[in-house]
Subunit: 141 residues, 2 copies
């Protein structure tokens, strides 16, 4: 049981009918290993060393593809950049306005089941619960 990291990434892509190219596997692997809700640039910088030919455009296109196919979440919690999450299970997010970190939160969420359903006649495909404030680390620092 348990995949080697790359295999988990490959499996994830296959299960979402995304062709597992070298770059896509590397990017998905990065998301799986880095639970920090990285930005496009975080992913790009994090992989540039091991894939010197990697293009920023590919990172943009790939993360967009992951989000469209449901293989990753695109978070819009931060007004100045988009962040990505390899964890697609239902959970909520907290953004620290002081340090910029995005934390996972397990908060009782009432209407997670609403996906695919309709709300006031609108067809829902995504739910995002965002909290903002000052994080524990910044409060204690």
């Amino acid at each position: 049981m348990g995949f080697k990291h790359s295999d988990e990434a490959v499996e994830r892509l296959k299960s979402k009918s995304i062709k597992p190219s070298m770059q896509r596997v590397a990017i998905m692997d990065y998301l799986i290993l880095n639970r920090t809700h990285p930005s496009v640039d975080d992913v790009y910088k994090g992989l540039s060393a091991s894939i010197p030919t990697l293009s920023r455009t590919t990172v943009y296109n790939t993360l967009k593809l992951f989000s469209d196919k449901g293989a990753a979440l695109m978070l819009t919690i931060d007004e100045s950049r988009v962040n990505f999450d390899g964890d697609t299970s239902p959970h909520t997010h907290f953004l620290c306005k002081n340090c910029g970190k995005i934390y996972d939160l397990q908060v009782p969420s009432p209407v997670k089941e609403v996906i695919g359903m309709s709300l006031a006649g609108h067809q829902i495909s995504e739910i995002h619960y965002y909290y903002k404030g000052v994080c524990k680390a910044c409060l204690e620092g």
Copy 2:
């Protein structure tokens, strides 16, 4: 009972200790009259005719000020621009991925009372519940 529009705007600003300059009142008035969750540019374009000397920078600064002081909400539901809401009461939002409109939703929200409280040790100052999908109008169109 009931204010003239401008007076309601002035009252709102005063109650949040924001000095009611001509531009600030006009911008707050715009938010109160336009419940469409306008972008910075919407506000700027909407007021340019009546205030020809208005600067985009002022609109940016003012909406940021409103958000900081709690006189308006800054929504980050749309990845490509920020939107503002003169309605600061607890409610949730729906973004149509097709037409881009942002709708208000009244959804049972579990943890609205959490503002000013702490969650996992973090100090919460804002809560945003965002839903995305295709709106009723686009579905029927």
